[in-house]
Amino acid sequence: MDEHEKNDKLKLGFWVYLMTDLIMFAVLFAAFAVLRGNTFGGASAKELLSLPGALANTLILLTSSFTCGLAILAVAKKDKIGTQISLGVTFVLGLTFLILELNEFSKLVADGNSWQRSAFLSSFFTLVGTHGLHITVGLLCIIISMIMIWRRGLTPSISGKLVRLSLFWHFLDVVWIFIFTIVYLMGTIK
């Protein structure tokens, strides 16, 4: 079977996987929507969440999606070094996003607002944390891809993998936009 046909199937399969992941996120969003008022006497979203911080995170993630796009352009030009550099920048931006998010989480926990405090906080940590977990998986995949490119070059099989990785990264961007809107914007402005 030639690589093109294989990549074609993998791409469709990956799209279907992304849709299943989206449904999983939909469940988490639904749970958040149901529970976000249930603070059980604890602090609400308005008191806990910081809009500027979330905005900064959003911009970082959007930029990383842009650099991820640059990586795919470089793949199309068979530019191995360009691909590596763009992937590297994407990785750093993704890592920054993750560190800022963990920082926010640890502050919340330190102030006694952990996931055990109320149903609202449970759903907040789960929804945002699941996105963060996906970012972690994405970062791991970026490292593996960079090793693969370094060792084997931009073979058709690896190029296919990179296209799917970028789909995944953009997908996480889309999910984050919803998190930013529903959790942070709707939670703090009211």
Binding site: V34, W115, A119
Partner: protein, 657 residues
């Protein structure tokens, strides 16, 4: 010690009579199997030819074997439930404790849905779908073996407490909170439940993606969507449902896990949790799930009725439209599972109407099958028996369901044995009969010889008579007010005779199952008499019958060109033989990484049940490493050269004449 073994202590090891009996039984069976394999020196063969295989035909057979074993376990549970309900009247408390009884019906439900029906279906999908679409393989061979091994890991999980201790969930098959929360179920039973479903559900989801892509991308040239065999169509619908709903199941169970492990409050009774949300979420998976089970059975019936009536399926277009309609409506009816929980009259009315609406496409399908039989030259082999039996049971169960779809009636019969009887009618009389029909129908394709007809017929009659004897009393008991999951009742209710009749029915069903086992043994013994040299024992219509039985590893030496709906039937009529020009065939290599990955995931799940931190880390890292190793492996295929194919085909021709 607690760092090493977590919550797993000696006190948790089997100490009740049923866990000890289970341990002894499993140990004896295990020793027997190991001794047999060692004696015959079959280990290497088993590992190389079967366990690590990526051939969907072999994977399919392994699915069916495991599902059969699980059917045995589920049936024993059914027998134990019945015995308790027949004995535990008035002053007698029966032979098992209420807690044990609750574990049994929980396990019975989960096993029959997840590991029997889903297992059989996955087996048939693997065996038949690639053949019917004229393909040599599925889209992702590695995912396919991984799916199988995740399913097996899940199946082991349901039985693990027998050997390693603890208990199974005593919460009912969907583990509804707040009962399944830590506060009310502090033991490990619910955790076993969580991980067996989570792991096998992951396998199902991966399988769904795999077959969806297989059907959409790997059909033989010329096979447009409207030329696909009906089993492929209904399986496609089923896959669409799988990828739509299994993420819901995974997420819902994950939220329950977070509640139990991290002290979160999604479904707890305090801290703002909302148990109703779980019920809504789990049923928005649970109701479509029954259509995941029944739609492939519709496809099997469509194939069988057309073949044995020797006629084209009537109203193919409307059967396709009906299946798609069912697929869409299946996602809009889940709330009828909890009409009584206060959603309000408007919401109940909407879901009641939707529930009734879904019978319209279903009835259209039944009428189309009957129309196919009309004026056909019908041959009554056992697959047809199962079909006719299905029409009767399914019509009964369908009408019982419509009745319950009326919210007002549902308030009366909710959570009674009437409901139990209804869904058993649908799943046994609908899905399971279809699976039996399909296995009988395709058995010669998979093995090269047909099943004994006489014993098959005995099995069928036992099943259908036993079925009605067993479940009609439950309808009546339901109307009399007997609730489900009842481990004790007063003698004054007068229910005992009906329970005993149901038990007699169960014994008749058991005879049917015994005949099926006998049928397989006798058929294997008489395989020389029943050999199928043509590859087409039933005068079939679709592509799987165009190739020899059992099919060669590459299925089709030459990929067929499709111009008609029943391509093989058309080929037989035109008697054209295509020119035989062979080409190199690329096939996937076997891989053990599927087993290893699933093994590590199994360890992870086990560690989570018993809170063994180090083992959880080992399991997680191991599974991730396996996937990374696989992603680096680009040498996953081997080539069968064209001359080799020509030689193999010539050998087959000379053997079969």
């Amino acid at each position: 010690m607690s760092i090493l073994f977590g919550k797993l202590t000696l006190a948790a090891l089997p100490h009740e009579w049923f866990t000890i009996a289970g341990t002894i039984f499993i140990t004896i069976m295990g020793i027997a199997v190991v001794a047999f394999l060692t004696h015959k020196k079959l280990w290497k063969w088993l590992w190389k030819e079967w366990l690590t295989s990526t051939d969907p035909k072999k994977i399919g057979i392994m699915y069916i074997i495991v599902a059969s074993l699980m059917l045995f376990r589920g049936a024993i549970d059914a027998g134990m439930i019945w015995l308790q309900q027949s004995l535990s009247v008035g002053v007698s408390n029966g032979y098992i404790s209420p807690n044990h009884f609750q574990q049994i019906f929980t396990a019975h439900g989960d096993i029959m849905i997840f590991f029997v029906t889903m297992g059989f279906l996955a087996g048939l999908w693997n065996l038949i779908l690639p053949l019917q679409i004229g393909s040599r393989d599925v889209a992702f061979p590695f995912l396919n073996t991984l799916s199988l091994w995740l399913y097996i890991a899940g199946a082991i999980f349901v039985n693990l407490f027998f050997v390693l201790g603890g208990e199974f969930a005593a919460t009912g098959w969907l583990a509804l909170p707040p009962l399944s929360e830590l506060q009310f179920s502090p033991g490990v039973g619910v955790d076993y439940w969580i991980w067996s479903l989570q792991i096998s559900g992951l396998g199902t989801l991966l399988g769904g993606i795999n077959f969806l892509v297989t059907i959409l991308k790997m059909r033989a040239p010329g096979m447009t969507l409207m030329k696909m065999p009906m089993f492929v169509w209904t399986s496609l619908c089923s896959m669409v449902l799988v990828v739509s709903i299994f993420p819901i199941l995974a997420a819902t169970i994950a939220l329950l896990t977070l509640d139990r492990f991290m002290g979160m409050h999604f479904f707890t009774t305090s801290f703002g949790g909302n148990p109703m949300m779980y019920i809504s979420l789990i049923w928005s998976w649970g109701h479509p799930e029954v259509y995941v089970l029944i739609l492939p059975a519709y496809g099997i019936y469509s194939e069988i009725v057309a073949t044995f009536s020797q006629k084209r399926l009537s109203g193919y277009g409307s059967v396709v439209a009906g299946s798609i309609g069912i697929t869409l409506l299946a996602l809009l009816v889940w709330l009828h599972h909890f009409f009584t929980m206060g959603a309000g009259a408007d919401v109940n009315a909407f879901f009641g109407i939707m529930t009734m609406f879904i019978t319209v496409p279903t009835a259209a399908l039944v009428f189309n099958w009957l129309a196919t039989m009309y004026k056909g030259r019908i041959r009554f082999f056992t697959p047809m028996d199962w079909f006719v039996g299905f029409v009767f049971t399914f019509t009964l169960g369908g009408m019982a369901g419509v009745l319950m779809g009326i919210p007002g009636v549902d308030f009366q019969v909710h959570n009674t044995l009437y409901l139990v009887a209804h869904f058993h009618t649908m799943i046994i009389g609908g899905a399971l009969f279809g699976i039996f029909a399909g296995i009988t129908y395709w058995f010669p394709k998979a093995t090269g010889f047909t099943l004994n007809e006489r014993l098959g017929r005995y099995a069928f009659w036992c099943w259908i008579i036993g079925f009605f004897a067993s479940f009609v009393p439950l309808y009546i008991l339901g109307f009399m007010g007997a609730t489900r999951r009842l481990d004790h009742y007063e003698a004054s209710t007068g229910w005992q005779p009906l329970f005993i009749v149901a038990g007699v029915g169960l014994i008749i069903i058991a005879c049917g199952a015994l005949f099926q086992v006998l049928q397989i043994i006798v058929s294997i013994k008489q395989r020389k008499q029943n050999i199928d040299k043509t590859g087409d024992p039933w005068n079939g219509r679709t592509l799987e019958w165009a190739i020899p039985s059992p099919p060669p590893v590459y299925n089709f030496a030459i990929i067929p060109k499709v111009t008609e709906r029943d391509q093989f039937w058309a080929d037989k009529a035109s008697k054209q033989t295509a020119k035989q020009v062979y080409e190199d065939i690329h096939m996937p290599k076997n891989t053990a990484l599927g087993i290893y990955t699933s093994g590590f995931i199994f360890l992870f799940g086990f560690a989570m049940v018993w809170h063994i931190v180090w083992l959880a880390i080992v399991g997680l890292l191991g599974a991730i490493s396996c996937v990374i190793i696989r992603s680096f492996d680009e040498d996953t295929e081997y080539v069968i050269p064209a001359d080799e194919v020509a030689k193999m085909e010539a050998e087959r021709k000379s053997f079969y004449g």
